[in-house]
Amino acid sequence: MRLTRRRFLTLSGAGGLAAALPLDAAPAFGQSGPVRVGVLAAKAGVTAPVGESGLRGVQFATDRINAAGGILGRKVELIVEEESSPKDTVERFRKLALSDKVDVVSGAISTGVGLALGPAAEEMKTIWLAWDATTQKGVEETMPKPKYSFRSTDNECEAVMASIITARQWKGKFKTVAGINPDYSYGRDNWAAFLAIMKKYGMEIQVVSELWPKLGATDFTSHVATLVQAKPDLIFSCFWAGDTPIFLKQAHAAGLTKSTKLVLTTGGGVHESLKKDFTPEGAILGYNCFYFENPKASALAKEFTRWHSEKFKEWPNYESDHGYFTIVAYKAAVERAAKAAGGKWPAQDAIIQALEGVEAESLSGPRRYREDHIMEAAFFQGLTTHKNRHDFVTIDPVESMTTKQIQKPSGVGLYDWINGWKV
């Protein structure tokens, strides 16, 4: 027993050494060889489908860039690592920065992970372009003025947009509201923003139930029973994962979706699972920053949607576009900085400077990074319809708002901003 174990240890030690060697031997820095892009994509748990989706967008962007000759003639090479717990993900970020010597890291979805990655990016002096993972409150405290991190759009954009549509569509047509949102910052922030905007629009509403199921819960029968009892005119929910279809299915079975208005800010992320059988028509449904059947889609978006549905037998969702944008934004910034540097590969500081205010064509139209490192994009929402060729709901008409309308500007608090609206 002891002998075999020792033998095993020796062998695995040798194996590890062998695996490590090529890494050390590779001349991975400087201005020759491929551009190395580290990717952090979730592969397990609730965030796995989203991580997968983001990775596909990154892959699509990389394939296109490489087919067109790369960035300033350098091919793009992806080194994919897993996003898991904050601690482990920071370790992998370090590994990407130190051992793989990547030029830039793209990825991360979970807010908890994002809060840990922000300081790590500053410490490692490595550019990090987040997909999501950068919510309002915590991020403002842990990375007030980041140099190396570039953030996604704010947490509440979807709630703000859905609230504006709610006010326009249904003002005066409902009195009692209930919220069922996942019990973490995203759920809490969105619900608070919704209530604040209802108040701003002068709607006299009464909250009859506030439910906070755990993120990733798969049984809502008790919640549905509570909602049936509370009889709200409108239910607001920012469920975004498998929880969305499960809740709708159980709500439908209990007769809850027949007369109740539904606001689903983020459910479009799992759009294919929102089957017509149990998802009613006329609910407000949000698709975040990318809607796969947008009638005004660009040729690029159409090409991506075709590529995605042929390759994966699925219609793409928003996270792909976050992933796609981080790569093309990096390319645009490098080219912008290179122009100033006389065509040479620019220094990292110059790339960072060029990223600030950089604009690039994403799958959902033009996007940019604000000077304070926050992404600007367009969001898509609308009322659900059954009139389509799928077995799940889509939206018609498709409404689009940009972050200029639904994201608080730089340096202003969310609620101060909302209170300053003219309505």
């Binding site: 798969t218 509570t226 059988d277």
Partner: protein
Amino acid sequence: MLFLVAAGLQLVFGVQKILNLACGSFYALGAYAGVSAVRWALGAGLPAPLFLPVLLGAGLALAAIGPVIERLLRPIYDRDESFQLLLTFALVLMFEDVIRFFWGTAPHQLGNVYLAFGQLRIGALTVPTYNLVVIAAGAGIAAGMGWFLARTRFGRIVRATAENREMAEAMGVDMTRVYTRVFTLGVALGTVGGALVIPATAAVNEMGIDLIVEAFAVVVIGGLGSMRGAFAGALIVGVVKAVAIATWPEVEMLAIYVIVIAVLVLRPAGLFARATA
């Protein structure tokens, strides 16, 4: 549903003295297999109301992995519990990857079979008939397990083994076979539970892990190794959750663990533990 998984956990622990974390994975596997089987059957032209036998069949068929897993666990029967927890937790992670490999990461669900039996109106409430079917199935399985353990020859052997393994072995009981069968039965309870629940929900990868935690609460409340305890514990956890959500949603999880703590302090062996256990 919780009862089925907890019952599987109880059975395996009672007889084999193994804390099997992987019971949650069997539940998840059962759910995924149920989705695939019913989809396939409906595609082959089966009328929707007949999906129930297909679901049950899928759950039972999957129990075939029981003997294989049991073989894998054999080396740790006499080791410390921490080894058992480690190994069965490793199984949980492996099964999660197995599911990801075969079914991917997106949630899987069955379309409209949930309402294939219609809905019942009780006063102002609308209840899907399928919920009642599941409750009946749970009660039926509980009664069946009771009968099996109390009345059949194999049930007596199982109980004897749980009481005193050496003595049972000395009386000529083939322990290896008993273990394999009991473990498979435990697996079957989990997979059938998962298959039965799926019409009302969607199969997601982490459903197993979520359930394990609750199943352990059930087992602690009911008492390790007791079938009646599993039944009572599952009822208590279910009702407490529902009441908490209806009255004070903040304390949903807390309420369950307050009861767990109360039971641990006042009746450390659980509500239904046998005196000798």
